[in-house]
């Protein structure tokens, strides 16, 4: 499942967190680089670019947002943010600044691994693009605009399909409300969350997704949506 020898950089000032993440990642076959400070992390990204950066937002020397913006100035490599609870705003800011996803501290290693796999798989896909996406129970063909749930075709409206395409292309990466609204409805609709809630309700209904136990579309309260993978 994992592709060994992929290199991950963890930028985190807490030695204990660095340690358990490194041990777990190495056990999964990844190579791990460590940086205690933001500047150090940016330098490592330049010197030996990793496949993914795990970034703690509370660094002693550099604001997490600055780190993301400076890295994004020249690189598209995936960034997974570690953020504290109860700060949806901070998460959304980080995502808007260019982070790809986040994990809330304290986190279990399983959650971190899942997020890392999603981001790496997405990177891999960028190398060999294909309009076909297949997940357990769901198949989406972006080119032909075809959707199948458990083998049966489902007909979607234009906006429902646009929303599903976004989620599918994200492959499990979280998408903020604002981004979905901008891409499905266009600029100027970023505040119209109620459109989005209604559309998600309709899409779930058509996909046969129980909102209480969603199989496909997960709600990330206060932040956005992601596809369950």
């Amino acid at each position: 499942m994992t592709t060994p020898a992929e290199t991950l950089l963890i930028v985190e000032d807490e030695a204990q967190i660095r340690k358990f993440v490194r041990i777990s990642l190495e056990a999964q076959g990844y190579q791990v680089l460590e940086a205690r400070l933001g500047e150090e992390g940016l330098a490592t990204c330049l010197a030996s670019p990793p496949h993914l950066v795990i970034l703690d937002l509370g660094l002693p020397d550099l604001d997490g947002m600055d780190f993301i913006r400076r890295l994004r100035a020249w690189s598209t490599l995936p960034i997974l943010v570690l953020s504290v609870r109860a700060s949806e705003t901070e998460k959304i800011q980080a995502l808007d600044a260019g982070a790809n996803d986040y994990v809330t501290k304290p986190f279990g290693i399983g959650e971190l691994m899942a997020r890392i796999r999603v981001l790496l798989r997405k990177e891999e896909r960028r190398a060999t693009p294909s309009p076909q996406f297949t997940f357990p129970g769901l198949r989406v063909d972006l080119a032909r605009r075809e959707v199948e749930v458990d083998g049966s075709p489902v007909s979607l409206s234009r906006k429902e399909f646009a929303l599903l395409s976004l989620l599918v292309a994200g492959q499990g990466q979280v998408l903020t409300h604002e981004r979905i609204l901008r891409e499905v409805w266009g600029a100027g609709h970023q505040e119209d969350t109620h459109y989005l809630r209604v559309l998600v309700g309709n899409l779930r209904q058509k996909l046969g997704d129980d909102p209480m136990r969603p199989r496909f579309i997960l709600t990330v309260q206060g932040v956005g949506y992601r596809l369950a993978v």
Binding site: A86, H194, R197, G201, M212, R213, Q221, G222
Partner: protein
Amino acid sequence: MIAHTAIAVNPLPRAPGRYPFRRLAPYLFALLVVAITVAVAFLLPWLFPHASRSLLFLTGVLVVAARSSLGPSLMASFLSFLAFNFFFTEPVHTFKVADDGDFTTLAFFLLVSALSGNLASRMRQEMAQRRASLERISHLYAFSRRLASAAGTDEVLDALTDQLALLPGTPPVAIRVFLTAVGESPRDTSPPREVRRHGDDRALAPPAVEEVWVRGIPEPGHHGDWLLLPLATDRGAFGLVALAEIPDPEQLELARNLCAQAAVALDRTRLVTDLAGARLAAETEQLRAALLSSVSHDLRTPLAAIIGSATSLLEYGEAFSAADRRDLLTTVANAAQHLDRHIQNLLDMTRLGQGKLQIQRDWVDLRDLIAGALARLAEVLTGLEVEVRISPEVPLLWVQGTLIEQALVNLLDNAAKFSPPGGRIAIQAEPRDQELVIDLCDQGPGIPAEERERIFDMFYSVSRGDRHDRGGSGLGLAICRGMIAAHGGQIQALPGEAGWGTRMRLRLPLVNAEVTPKPEGTP
């Protein structure tokens, strides 16, 4: 008590213009009465042939004496004497007296009228004095009744200013009341601040008050136009009353009495305020103690499990079976998550307590909130049956989703704690009269009626000390109420279905209810 030192109070000049007439009036009255007596005396032989004219004149003098003072009554007797002599003794129409007997009569007449006039006028004066003192007493009595019923310092001050403004005679044209801050001991503190202002707005310079205050317990004394009276009891002085232009010593005496009474009442109300402050401080202290005990208990219990399990694994890990190792590690993970929830609660409570909770509303689907809460509590809810019924009529909510989700998490967590193994937790939601009503029923032991409101008090369960074994800190429900209240909603504990368990009812106002999700299935 206050020493009633005599001080010189310059009587104000009496208002001119009113007094000459007031002074002359009794003399005019005496003149009129004598004239009428003369007229009646001429008619007397026709009306009452045998009546004595001298007695008639004496009656006239007594009438004057009774209605006025000594001067007018003496004048009346002298005039009566002259009139009687002139009109009715031989030789008529002269002031001569022919008969010795008549002369004696006239002399007695003058003496009796002078005596009785004096007596009557003295009686009148005494009555006037008595009426004045009665008025003063009823004034004081009304005042003490008002003070007795005054519940707070403000009411006492109102009563005092009202009463001073109603002083009989010429009331003071300006009244100021100054008080020190409650709780400060007298004298060694900052000067009293003005708390009441009545009458015209002539200035009493603040330095004047400070000066008087610093100089010592202020005796009533003058300061420019102002007369200063202390507000003091035997526990010390705590204020001043300043009156502009008190006309006479009697009023000063009355004003002083009013101030002395008010001082006693103020002392009482201020003492009550002091006590209330002390009680609040004690309650805060109790709350702090409860918080400390709660925090140390709630944080240490999971920590004990974590440290114990982790050190066991470190020391004897190799001797344990794989199943035991896994068991201990599960304990570590669960206890840590428990700890995380408690810390979240403490943080939430701090934010609620500081009133800094600014809600960021957005459109939210209730089903997402319930699903989120259930997912977060998956472990706690293992072994329980959860049934969710959400009416399709429930519209989108305009709330801060994370807060409502947290409130649901706390309610569910609580329900799970008190549920018997395999128990059922039912969640129902439906809109009702511009409100969303969410009911959460459990099959736990239920809550006695008298405690249903108190369980939302912070640390209620802590102070009862009987829920620690269930792992509750008492914060959860208080936070829940705080979060719902921040949205303008309410939460209450009701008896459960079929007479057992608990039904937690959460009501949220539906804002902009016209925006409802389209019926499912229609594009």
